[in-house]
Symmetry: C2
Subunit: 354 residues, 2 copies
């Protein structure tokens, strides 16, 4: 287990709750002009002046969202922060602050929770976000992380899911399915290791898809690029549960349908190659694999030239008037209804139970 | 167990994650002018215009912060929201929005989580706070609730822990120790019931202290009363971990000490009577019992007349220059150093383990 890698072990109870908070937040400097007061009082204070304030929360639960058998705690902390930053990108906003709640059992040491915070603080540094508060407590079993992100945007810049119009172009950043392939590789090596603990994991050469799973990034760079190109997307969402699921959300919120082209789906060669190893169709992986944290957005047809010039953005289809109907047009000119098979923690739990 | 009281049982997995969120947030109307967009997108949107924005998070963990053996789920939801509103009161701010994260195992039904949300929404209605977002997921075991509260205040009205000056008067709202006595009663009846399941719990006549434990309120009314009286406290904190612990926080943050008078500590007669039943000294209960969610604050000596006129506020002592030294002056004119023995989830967990 990752939390036992560190030879030093300090019991959390030796610091107590306030000692722990002091220890974990030592040396934090507020960098955002909007962060007026951080850790150390009953609440943090933020001043967004002329901006709107955005807020979103995500929970990460051990055994449901992550497996400590192959997830380093530092990566877990990094990912917990980044997936929340991605929610701000999805609104065409910038993350500015986070507050973090951690509940963990006494099987974790101080060094373990510190690793989580190292990851969170690394993400904060990279994305210029201030960690302004939190709560740390015991749990009877397992590790729970709750990250609430605060962000800002001008009211006129915000992108909701509901703003798409008929014929708007559907665009996606980066490539899809990689994070899911990384997960399958990690699960496979875990199973091999369980069967024979002397076997060393064979993950060489799979860096890209492993990183997509273990260390995802939020596409704030795309928010910047769109602004620079003078494009305000008509609707936007981030791809956390898979393209198929997110496309359904955009269609539902906008009261429209869409058509996407199989040949336009951006798939990295390594994703395709790992998919084939697992006897999976790369297109299906791109449609249903979750956790890529790319942005899915719509732009007016008149923005075609502008959006086409932005590196790393793929135009994969367009919005149609048939509400709720999402169509995939294959390379063979067949058309299929897209069904969302995205990851659902409640249904998945049920599957495990049965 | 409370979650089995309801004869109807709908499995959470039958709705799926998005269905569940839709179900739980159905009919929510945004009431705060600052709530621009609520549930249903990647983030909620808030506009505090000329106000500062405050944010705070609290986790409530089954088996650590609550026992479903005697905590009705509706009360749990109410309390989860209210303890966060109390953090806003502690800053002299008003809560405006919350986002809620719930992780729960499949031993809970839809009706169970609905009860939690009924309690949360009841608290929101009473305190005029909007529920603007959340995350719902599975856990392998147990129930975890994460509430993040957003609030607002004018920058000039904010009260930090650090603002007290020497000779400032120490004031406390309401009375102390009741919530702890309620907890002891509930724990005693649980033990009796465990020993003999045919025994009916004998909680009649203890309504006040039981309500202090199960259905605490946030003292936003005190924030209003102070404003009306023209008093800006020099420092403020809410009493969640016990007076002794919170007084230490105020002293430390302000670089001062304090002296408080035993005879001035506000203790309800029922709290005193239950304390005596348990062979506890009421003063010790008032000092160390947690979860009263009253406000502890300091005001300038020149505000004495004004604060003295506000009903339900007790002046219990004053700030001194001896940094870090908190003194209790007893009825017998003896003086004791106050040691914080407040509740600490990490240390308490350790005690349970040993």
């Amino acid at each position: 287990m990752s939390e036992n890698n560190n030879p030093k072990r300090t019991e959390l109870s030796s610091l107590g709750e306030f000692g722990l908070i002091d220890y974990l937040t030592k040396g934090i400097e507020l960098k955002n002009p909007s962060s007026r007061y951080g850790v150390g009082d009953d609440a943090a204070v933020i001043d967004h002046v002329d901006f709107q304030t955005l807020v979103s929360v995500d929970l990460l639960v051990e055994g449901i969202h992550f497996d400590l058998g192959y997830t380093p705690l530092k990566h877990l902390g990094y990912k917990a922060a980044v997936v929340n930053f991605s929610d701000m990108a999805a609104m065409n906003a910038r993350p500015t602050q986070i507050v973090v709640g951690v509940a963990l059992s006494n099987r974790f040491s101080l060094e373990a929770i510190e690793e989580i915070y190292v990851g969170i603080r690394l993400a904060c540094e990279k994305y210029k976000v201030d960690l302004v508060g939190g709560d740390t407590t015991s749990s009877r079993a397992g590790l729970f992380i709750s990250v609430t992100v605060i962000g800002q945007a001008k009211a006129s810049e915000l992108c909701y899911r509901k703003g798409a119009s008929e014929n708007d172009l559907l665009c996606v950043s980066g490539d899809l399915g990689g994070a899911y392939m990384g997960l399958l590789l990690l699960e496979r090596e875990k199973a091999v290791f369980k069967a024979n603990p002397n076997m060393q994991p064979d993950l060489d050469g799979f860096d890209y898809v492993l990183e997509r799973q273990l260390k995802p990034e939020a596409r704030l760079d795309v928010v910047d690029a769109l602004e620079k190109a003078g494009i305000l997307p008509s609707s936007m969402i981030d791809i956390s549960d898979g393209l198929a699921s997110e496309i359904k959300h955009l269609c539902k919120a906008s009261g429209l349908g869409c058509a996407i082209y199989e040949e336009k789906l951006p798939i990295d060669p390594m994703t395709a190659s790992v998919a084939e190893d697992f006897k999976l169709v790369p297109t299906v992986v791109a449609l249903n694999g979750g956790e890529d944290y790319e942005l899915l957005f719509t732009v007016k047809v008149t923005d075609f030239e502008k959006v086409n010039k932005i590196p790393g953005i793929s135009i994969i289809g367009h919005m149609t008037s048939t509400a709720g109907e999402a169509i995939l047009l294959t390379r063979d000119n067949e058309s299929f209804n897209i069904e969302a098979q995205g990851w659902d923690s409640l249904s998945n739990e049920e599957q495990k139970k049965n």
